[in-house]
Every structure is written in structure tokens, then in C-alpha cells.
Symmetry: C2
DNA sequence: CGCGATTTGTGCACGCCTTCACAAGCGCCT
DNA sequence: AGGCGCTTGTGAAGGCGTGCACAAATCGCG
């Protein structure tokens, strides 16, 4: 190891490193940097400049430098960043060196696909348990795992030290499942079911709603269409007929 | 006052709305409001207060009011918002009244699930075409649709007026597919493949990376673990009440 | 008809994030 | 050894988004 001293080096001896409190925006980008770095490492690059890494990650180079500066000084002026060192540092910060155990609840259409998603295993996670309530699905084998009944969640979560749960159930049962996960000691939830979950404040929830993503794109389609329809003038087609008649026209 | 100024185009003469340019953050929340409103409509509510709708959507009520004020004045002071009117207005803004056609490229593990995802159809989108390059998958029937070869993309996209494409291929082929989509006239892309896509500036891309979501959760697990290990850190004080915490949604 | 209760719409201040611009530091070449 | 070019790390400024607090507006009721 090098004799370099950094505040939160993985190998820091003598107690817990002071955990840097990074801006949320930075945290959300670290995984993207990590993926780009892995790609660079495969191509044999040993160092990379902020400009190069920023391009690979699709961000501004100044932003990247500021993000990385929050982790500490891991670059060399005039040279760039050491790829493997930076990989190790980011993986440490993200806690990926622990190969975290994940459980998945809801083995329906989407859950089935997630259970077999290779991207999880290759990026630091082990899907160790599948749950469902449907008796016809319990017992099914998926990707080497047996689907269990959700009543076994608490026991298995404790056995396997599961801290992260993924919800892929229909919307109606998502809250019930979330409560069960929390009761089983899960403190991070990734929710694919539409709707808002209520959880204790010490539990983190991230939501992925596929339809919402499409709706946001749809908005931009609508916007683009209304712009190209008549540049500079009033749009020909776009007229919100849904409005009540007394509000339709502006009475000026 | 029957003649009320229509808020969506303040100061604009002629009565036709130039497209209101909403803050991105607002746009990202509109779909959540819409979902909550649909839920309210099913329960028979005709009006809803900003407080009530905000709770259902998991946001601050002041934020909700400000968001809606960007669309215009669709509430009544002392009463609240008319549910069906607000639904119509948000659907119009998001362009959902056009029941947009969507195509999906990559019928692998994840793509297969997306093709059958009921949430798309029920929220304003029609999946009208599936594509893949694998000859063994071409011709397969999924959910009433036949998987076509990607060479047919350009023709079918034109026939069906497809403006939105979903990429669910392995990372290596995502850029090629994106290029093909752009060439076929698609101007909005939802990308499930890890990595950065480069597209012309008139094309919108949204990315959903499932592993990144887990990695962000992993960071918070790591942080929480290091806090509880520290003596001085605020212990995870049992806060039994479930607050409608701000649930971080994926997105930019 | 007027008053009080209720709820919207918004001005304002604050904090986070982004971006620019540049000084400081490092290696290489002469 | 010294200078030169390259790259990082960061101070400062500007923009965006959030949340508070309150005036304006509307309804119901006596």
C-alpha cells in the first residue's frame, strides 16, 4: 500500500473512518463514475483525466472534479486519476465491498425478470431470496432460487442478514410488503410499485415508476410538437378543449 | 366572475396557450399527482385540498400548490381543486390524451417483462411493436405482439407514428439501437441499459439503471452502519410513526 | 347581507447545486 | 536544475428549487 494519507482510506487503521457526508447529488453520480471506470479498466487504462472520465460518464468535467474532491484527493495534478485506486475508493464509499444481500418480493411479470437480472450480481449485489404470497408461485424455481412464502421473510432475512429489499408487487400490496420488510429489519427499499410508501424515518426508500418515466418523456414530446407546429405563431392543433367553456377564452 | 383569466398563458393575447414552460422538477412530479388524483377519483372524491393531495402524493403542500400554480389557476380558494378538472389538465399537459405509441427493443429478460407490464397500458401508452436482433426471438408472440427484427424498425415506426422507444438490450448494443431509433424518427428514448447514450440534441433520453438504484441504497446502508458504530453519532432513534418521508424518485 | 372559516396563490429568503475561472501542484524535457 | 505544459482542486458567482408565512378569494351560515 502507499503511504499516502487520506481521511477516509479503506485501509485506515485504528477505528472507524470519519464518514464523509457527501451531497446527495454527488452520491447519485458515483455509481455512474464507477461503471465508467470499470469500463476504462477493461480497456487497460491506468489513469484517466477528469475530462476523459467526465465524458465517459456523461457529465461536466468541473462537476466530476468537485464530486471526487469530496472523497478526498485521489488525483495527481498534471496526470489524472489512478483508475484502480479510484474504483476501490468509490466501491468502499458505496459499501459495495460487502457484496450485499438483497431480497425480492413479488415474483410476477417484473419480479421474475429482476430475479434473473444479471446486472445485479455483476455490480455488487446478491439476490438471496424471493418471496410471494401466491401459493402457485411459492416453490417455483427461478435462477437457482426457490420462491418462498412471505411469512418466511422475517426468519430468512435474519439468517441471511438482508438489509435491502426490492418490492415488485402490484400497487395494492406494496404497503403491506413494506411493513413486513421493515418488521424483518430491512432498512433500504427499492420500490417498483406505483404509489407512496410510508416507512419509519430510518428506512430509505427509492422509487422506480416505469410509467412515470414514459409520462415525462411524453410531456417533452408534447412540448416539442407544439413548438414545431408553428414556430413563432399560435399552435394550430394544440387547443385544450378540456377546459370549461367559460374559461376557454381569455376575456381581455 | 365567469370570465376568469386563463392562467396557462398570462399576458398572451389570442387565447391559445403557448406551451407553459414548467420547471423540470415540477414536470417530474406531475405524474405522481396524476396517479394520486386517479386514486382519489375512484374513491368518489370530487374535490381535494392541496393538503390532501400533497399527502397522497408524498410531497409538501406548499410545493404542490406552487407546482399547480404553474399550470394556471385550477383551484378554488376555500374549497380546493376539482379532481376531474385537474386530471384533465395534467393529462393534457403531459400529452397523455394522445395515447402514445411506444416500441420496445430487446426482448430479453427485462424486455420480456416490460412488454407485458400492465402499468404502461393503463397509464396512457400503447406498446405497439417489439424488436430484437436474435433470430430465435424474432417471430415469438408476447402479449399479443409479434417480435420483429430490428431491420423493420424504420418502416414500422413510420407506419405506427412511434415517437417513444424503450431500450432493454444488453449494454453493448444500446448505442447501436439508439442510433437506429433516432434514424427511425424516434425523439424520446427510455434506456434501461447501463451506460451513456449519445443522441442528437433534439432527442430526449431518460435512463433507468436498476443497479445504480441499489448502489445508492447501499451507500446509505454503509453510512447508517458507520453511524451506529460511532458512539457520538445519533443513534437510530426509534421513530415509530411512519412519516410520509420524501421518497427519492429516480430521475434527473 | 355581512362575517368568519377555510384554502389557494405567491413574494421572499434560504440553501443546494452547478459552472466558471484560475491558482497550485506535478511530471517531463531540455 | 529549471522551466514549461498539463491537470487537479477550489473560491466565488449565479441559478434553481424549496418552504415559510401571509394576503386574497371563496363559501356557508346566521
Amino acid at each position: 500500500m502507499s503511504q499516502q494519507r487520506h481521511g477516509s482510506t479503506p485501509g485506515e487503521a485504528g477505528g472507524v473512518p470519519a464518514f464523509p457526508d457527501l451531497p446527495e447529488a454527488t452520491i447519485a453520480r458515483l455509481p455512474e463514475y464507477l461503471r465508467a471506470l470499470h469500463h476504462l479498466a477493461e480497456t487497460g487504462a491506468e489513469t484517466v483525466s477528469s475530462e476523459g472520465l467526465a465524458a465517459a460518464a456523461g457529465v461536466n468535467s468541473a462537476k466530476l472534479r468537485k464530486d471526487l474532491s469530496h472523497l478526498g484527493s485521489y488525483g495527481t495534478r498534471g496526470v489524472g486519476y489512478d483508475v484502480s485506486l479510484l474504483v476501490a475508493q468509490i466501491e468502499y464509499i458505496l459499501g459495495l465491498d460487502e457484496n450485499r444481500a438483497v431480497c425480492l418480493v413479488g415474483v410476477g411479470n417484473l419480479g421474475h425478470a429482476l430475479a434473473g437480472y444479471a446486472g445485479f450480481a455483476s455490480r455488487g449485489f446478491r439476490v438471496v431470496a424471493l418471496f410471494d404470497t401466491d401459493p402457485r408461485k411459492v416453490g417455483e424455481q427461478i435462477n437457482g432460487l426457490t420462491v418462498r412464502h412471505i411469512d418466511d421473510l422475517e426468519r430468512i432475512a435474519a439468517e441471511e442478514s438482508i438489509a435491502i429489499g426490492v418490492i415488485a408487487t402490484p400497487p395494492g400490496t406494496a404497503q403491506t410488503v413494506a411493513d413486513a420488510l421493515v418488521a424483518a429489519g430491512v432498512t433500504s427499499i427499492l420500490n417498483f410499485a406505483p404509489g407512496v410508501l410510508s416507512v419509519p424515518s430510518n428506512v430509505d426508500v427509492r422509487k422506480v415508476d416505469l410509467a412515470i418515466e414514459l409520462q415525462i418523456l411524453s410531456f417533452h414530446e408534447h412540448r416539442k410538437a407544439s413548438l414545431t407546429a408553428l414556430p413563432g405563431g399560435r399552435s394550430a392543433a394544440a387547443s385544450p378543449d378540456k377546459l370549461p367553456d367559460n374559461q376557454k377564452a381569455v376575456g381581455s
